[in-house]
């Protein structure tokens, strides 16, 4: 892929992202109940005139096309607007939740890769053997266990029964490392704060394992199929015929070529996970993006939802784009 092609692909992102914002804007405003009504729902005395005044102050009485235009104009200025409920800049709200989600995503992806790639390769190489059977059943289990169930089982075992791991949150109060990136593991390494490193690793363990397990299942299956396809290719047979050892053939000649589908799956998974996993974040009281967005939808906090979806769309499209680029690196035969 040359620079012009990359630029071309990048420019294609703009209409996609615009389209997504328009759809989300329309959907949010079509949903009954506006933020002002929701704010006072099921609560004591407030008059219709009061509600109307709040709508005016928040700019909700403006015609929808103007509200949408203001939103777009804000984006161009780098201003994502103010949260209607929290009355804070949306940008700050999103930024405050991102490190937690990024850290959890990275750990979950790492765990899934550590489990899935070796398991997938072994299963493919020893096809129909006991290893393959165990791997297949394991993958089925991993995909079938709902995250909230697995999360709660881990909490009950490691947190309550054995009491060896913390149940919720990112780190105990007072142990946070100095902020550099907002990622506690990275920051604690950078500042040499090993107590904070251990504490945040302990808090990360259960949510990352929960999220990583379900992802590992899919990744393992994809790696296995990719590997199966490759090991029957002529060049592998040739390499074996040359007298190279089985392990060397598989790792040096097979794996690299077999990984393309795995890369796509993992990249798209990262795109999804960076949006924050509402379920895992709720179960482990993890202060990530997913919870913020779902709460904002319930509160009809339009600016937060719109901005978050914008970020999602951009992340997803970017990850997809990166996967394509990585493809061409792994497999130079692929051209776009």
């Amino acid at each position: 892929m040359n620079a012009a092609q990359i630029l071309n692909r990048a420019l294609q992102l703009i209409p996609v992202v615009l389209g997504v914002t328009l759809i989300v804007f329309a959907l949010m405003h079509l949903t009954p109940g506006d933020p002002v009504e929701v704010m006072f729902a099921g609560e004591s005395g407030v008059s219709e005139e009061d509600l109307e005044r709040y709508r005016q102050e928040l700019g909700l009485d403006l015609p929808l096309p103007i509200q949408y235009w203001n939103f777009l104009a804000g984006i161009v200025r780098g201003d994502l607007g103010m949260s209607l409920v929290q009355r804070q800049p949306v940008r700050d709200l999103l930024l405050s939740r991102m490190p937690a989600t990024i850290e959890l995503t990275a750990a979950a992806i790492l765990i899934s890769l550590i489990i899935a790639v070796p398991a997938g390769v072994l299963a493919a190489v020893h096809r129909h053997s006991a290893v393959d059977q165990v791997g297949t059943v394991g993958a089925l289990l991993g995909v079938s266990m709902p995250d909230f169930w697995l999360g709660l089982v881990l909490i009950m075992l490691f947190g309550v029964r054995w009491g060896i791991l913390p149940i919720s949150g990112r780190i105990p109060w007072g142990m946070e490392p100095e902020t550099v990136t907002g990622l506690y593991l990275v920051d604690s390494v950078l500042t040499g704060n090993w107590a904070a490193f251990r504490a945040s690793l302990r808090h990360l363990a259960l949510p990352a394992l929960t999220l990583g397990t379900s992802m590992a299942a899919l990744t393992m299956r994809v790696t296995r199929s990719g590997m199966l396809e490759v090991i029957h290719q002529d060049y592998i047979t040739f390499a074996r015929a040359k007298g190279l050892s089985g392990t060397e053939v598989v790792l040096r000649h097979g794996l690299r070529n077999a990984l393309s589908p795995t890369v796509t799956v993992v990249a798209l998974n990262i795109g999804v996970l960076l949006g924050g996993n509402m379920i895992v974040e709720s179960v482990f009281a993890w202060p990530g993006l997913g919870r913020l967005v779902v709460e904002s939808i319930y509160n009809r906090d339009y600016p937060v939802v719109q901005a978050a979806v914008l970020v999602y769309a951009m992340t997803y499209v970017t990850m997809n784009f990166l996967a394509d680029v990585l493809y061409t690196v792994l497999n130079p035969r692929v051209r776009f």
Partner: protein, 503 residues
């Protein structure tokens, strides 16, 4: 695969290397939702008030019997129908060390009631001060509050208003400064709020029998939205108090040697609103019949773990003007069948019963009981409260199961919005001119006795009109570790930790 298992167990082994110790000076409370912001003038949200009320005190607070008692005020005099004078306690300090004076109190009240006073926006709590127009400092320790009309429930409403320093104003959003027992340390969004003991605390309301600074050095409110996780955190000792205990957890908590269940009468009434604009619920006999056909006691017993009380209307027994002569509709299927026959439905009828997912079990119990008197209720489950309510307001639904919270313990908080003709919470279209007239009278009279009498009579009318299937008020459920003492749950959902101690 083997490699993966080894790596995963290695990660867990490293992570599990040390246990966690909980500081005995620190009280940790598990709540369900994050705060909206830290400005005491800028929210309408339960959890936000729960936390902020530990940082801020008000002119008045609630005494043990839920009636208002002086807190930052020393004495309260009503000068005339629309003027109140508050004499303030002397020597009360804000967390930044400055002394609280009448100027701060006047500033706080004006920031609540003046349009655009909050950096160009109006406080969403303005209507919680009804007809209050403004306040002014008479001298350093005297404040006068002016109303545009007599308002008998001024003091109960004033409980929900907190006093801030005039010098800080809009800076409160980032760093709250109050006169309460705990001072603000940090808020990590979506995660926790940390407060520390304020050593110069004056001691709070004398009527609550408190004095001096809090014994606990630090208080942490942790946001743990998932019920099962909050319970696990309580069992593991990560938190000391758990808010919003679900009914299905009662048995686990009662069985646990270190935990204690703490129920308290709640402020939320539950009921099923009928669409009275069209058949079959335009007929009062049908509405009464359904009230007779439901065994509310059984539902409370079987589905709410016994933690509820049947209501004759929708008003809480703790509310001002509650009519204790009315008895909840008894369970009488025979009478229900008879009323249905009189209304022209000897073989019953079919209708759609709308409900949110959280009360689906109750809806199914109702459908079963209604089937016994020949009425078929087709349950429709809604994912979103506002969507359901909007459809009802437009008159498209037959009946919706809903609820309404009233932390003011006064008819203005629930009776008026739900039952006055065309009011904002009146989704079913109920309209009785006599009830409207009684409300109008009650809200204009200055005699508390006449006001109470008017509401008692209005409740009787509503009881007979049965615009709703009257259900129950639930108890709020908290749980705590037994190592904690000196804390009691209160009905209006604040968690005041001034006297809490941990062994």
């Amino acid at each position: 695969m083997r490699l993966g298992i080894i790596a995963a167990s290695l990660l867990i082994a490293v992570a599990a290397a040390a246990g966690h110790a909980q500081d005995a000076d620190t009280i940790v409370v598990g709540i369900t939702a994050d705060l909206q912001n830290l400005d005491p003038h800028n929210f309408r949200h339960r959890e936000t008030e729960t936390v902020l009320r530990n940082i801020y005190d008000g002119l008045v607070t609630r005494g043990p019997d839920m009636q208002p008692v002086p807190e930052l005020a020393e004495s309260i005099v009503q000068i005339d129908e629309t003027t109140w004078e508050f004499r303030l306690r002397r020597g009360v300090k804000f967390h930044d060390g400055t002394e609280m004076t009448a100027r701060d109190v006047a500033f706080s009240i004006n920031r609540y009631v003046k349009e655009g006073a909050m950096g160009g926006q109006t406080s969403p709590r303005k209507d919680l001060l009804g007809p209050v127009t403004h306040a002014e400092a008479v001298d350093d320790y005297t404040v006068r509050v002016y109303l545009s009309a007599p308002w008998s429930v001024f003091l109960p409403y004033l409980v929900h208003h907190m006093i801030v320093p005039a010098s800080v104003g809009d800076g409160l959003v980032e760093h709250p400064i109050g006169t309460g027992p705990f001072r603000f340390v940090e808020w990590v969004r979506g995660s926790h709020v940390v407060l520390e003991r304020f050593d110069d605390y004056y001691g709070g309301a004398p009527d609550l029998g408190r004095s001096g600074p809090a014994p606990a050095k630090r208080v942490i409110f942790r946001i743990i939205p998932e019920n099962a996780t909050r319970l696990a955190a309580l069992m593991a000792g990560e938190i000391d108090i758990m808010a919003n205990v679900p009914v299905h957890a009662i048995a686990d908590i009662e069985r646990h040697p270190d935990l204690e269940l703490r129920p308290v009468m709640g402020t939320r009434s539950y009921f099923t609103e009928f669409n009275v604009r069209r058949p079959p619920f335009d007929d009062v006999r049908v509405r009464q019949a359904l009230n007779y056909a439901i065994d509310v006691d059984l539902v409370i017993d079987q589905l709410l773990g016994g933690l509820g009380q049947p209501l004759p209307t929708i008003l809480s027994p703790l509310s001002f003007g509650y009519n204790d002569e009315l008895e909840p509709y008894p369970y009488d299927p025979e009478r229900a069948r008879q009323l249905l026959a009189e209304a022209g439905y000897p073989n019953g009828f079919e209708f759609e019963l709308s409900v949110e997912n959280k009360r689906r079990d109750v809806a199914e119990a109702y459908a079963f009981m209604l089937a016994q008197v020949g009425v078929t209720a087709n349950i429709r489950v809604w994912g979103d409260y506002n969507t359901m309510v909007e459809a009802m307001r437009r008159g498209e639904l037959d009946a919706i199961m809903t609820d309404w919270g009233d932390s003011t313990m006064d008819p203005t908080g629930i009776f008026i919005p739900k039952l006055r003709t065309g009011d904002r919470g009146n989704f079913g279209g109920y309209s009785n001119p006599a009830v409207d007239a009684l409300i109008e009278f009650a809200e204009s009279t200055t005699s508390l006795e006449a006001r109470a009498e008017a509401y008692r009579y209005a409740q009787k009318l509503v009881y007979e009109d049965a615009p709703m299937l009257f259900e129950y008020i639930t108890q709020e459920l908290y749980a705590q570790r037994k190592s904690l003492s000196g804390w009691d749950p209160i009905p209006d959902s604040r968690i005041n930790l001034h006297t809490a101690v941990k062994q």
